[in-house]
């Protein structure tokens, strides 16, 4: 993992142990000592977020929506149920809504107030999604933000921004790339990116 990028919204926790690392360790010891948390449960939680959820789940949903018109219809009508068909459900995915890009419409998801994000299908959000620059600019300058991700939208493509202010969680369904007619769902899923499902890029 490279650590040479601009350092402005997170801490890498490099050795020697930082003050925050020591304080977190102390709090964990206290909570364990008081019987408030089980350290093995903490490990299980970390494992869930590092190995069970992540953008590959959302990519399967998107690929199935591309390959199976009946599934796409169910997904657009009731995303929570359609996503659960693939086994993805739970915290921060209780009320899912799929929003589909078309040649004339592009969707972009943000949470201006905190960091709301669809955990079961995308995992935990990247730092930039939770950061002040994205939260402030996605609603007022979505096209400028997308341009920084390398996606320049023509003026005649409509941009729809979704600010996740309640417990609805949004998943962008990108357009199926041209020339992918022969691919099966697994091969299609490999084409789907996290940023494509947030909407900062088009596939």
């Amino acid at each position: 993992m490279a650590h040479d990028h601009p350092h402005h919204d997170h801490d890498h926790g490099q050795e020697p142990p930082s003050d925050i690392a020591l304080r977190v360790k102390a709090l964990q010891s206290l909570l364990v000592e008081k019987g408030l948390v089980d350290p093995a449960a903490l490990d299980a939680i970390v494992d869930y977020f590092e190995t069970k959820v992540g953008p590959r789940n959302g990519a399967r949903v998107v690929a199935k929506a591309w390959a199976d018109p009946a599934y796409r219809e169910r997904l657009m009508a009731d995303a929570t149920a359609a996503i659960a068909e693939l086994g993805y459900a739970g915290a921060q995915g209780e009320h899912m809504q799929a929003v589909a890009n078309t040649p004339t419409t592009h969707n972009l998801v943000v949470c201006t107030l905190c960091s709301c994000y669809p955990w079961p299908v995308l995992g935990l959000p990247p730092v930039w999604y939770k950061s002040a620059p994205y939260r402030s600019r996605a609603v007022i300058d979505p096209r400028g933000v997308m341009a920084e991700f390398g996606t320049v939208l023509p003026d005649d493509v409509e941009v729809r921004v979704w600010d996740s202010t309640a417990e609805l969680r949004y998943l962008v369904i990108p357009e199926r790339p041209a020339g992918t007619e022969g691919l099966d769902e697994a091969a299609l899923a490999a084409l789907v990116t996290r940023d494509g499902m947030i909407g900062t890029t088009r596939l």
Partner: protein
């Protein structure tokens, strides 16, 4: 509350900086903070947890990293919930006289708890608005928790969809019960929110509870 957490439309907060190949967590202490927030006895009220982070002093909120804010919010929630005493938190040592608790989450319960969907949908009065209605976001400035961002207050939008009644964060965050109200997706045009410089085709949709809205 009109805090710095309500960032929509602000300028001057810098460029978006994607990190190629970003890991889920950048340090082990971030893993521990995230897991403690999920496992701790204060997890029952997600709205109160969000509000606790909003209460971090504005300058600190902007300076702190994401998981530093989660850590500070967790500490304050543990104190408020009386799960730990101030002396214990300061010393990092449990009061030997305090009764020992049983962890809320056992290791084998973690995956089922995280992957089973609850719901914020509740029974309440029928919705006052239907899709297509024009509504104005009220010019409200509550000092407590709200999910009505400043940038839509006073603006007129169109109801896209009603989602039934959901737990109302403005009440729930303050321990005043779930107080469910109808929740709507409301669409505002970009030019109405941001003026003539915005692309007239563009729009911003938010999920807003009925007490935030009036018929326009």
């Amino acid at each position: 509350m009109n805090g710095v957490h309500d960032m929509g439309g602000m300028h001057g907060l810098g460029p978006v900086a994607p990190e190629p190949g970003e890991p889920v967590f950048h340090a082990d202490w971030e893993r521990r903070v995230h897991a403690m927030v999920i496992a701790s006895p204060t997890r029952g009220n997600i709205d109160a947890g969000r509000h606790q982070r909003e209460l971090i002093a504005a300058a600190d909120y902007l300076r702190m990293t994401y998981y530093e804010k989660w850590f500070e919010g967790l500490r304050q929630m543990l104190l408020k919930g009386e799960a730990v005493a101030p002396d214990e938190l300061a010393a990092g040592v449990a009061d030997p006289a305090a009764p020992k608790s049983t962890p809320r989450l056992a290791p084998e319960a973690v995956a089922p708890a995280l992957s089973t969907s609850g719901s914020y949908l509740r029974k309440a009065a029928p919705p006052a608005f239907v899709a297509g209605d024009r509504v104005r976001a009220l010019n409200l400035h509550p000092t407590g928790h709200t999910r009505l961002p400043r940038y839509v207050r006073g603006h007129v939008g169109v109801i896209e969809r009603c989602h039934g009644a959901h737990v109302f964060p403005d009440s729930h965050a303050h321990g005043a019960g779930e107080d469910p109200h109808p929740l709507y997706t409301v669409r505002f045009t970009a030019t109405d929110l941001w003026g003539p410089a915005a692309n007239p085709r563009d729009s911003v949709s938010l999920d807003l509870w009925e007490p935030y809205l009036e018929r326009a």
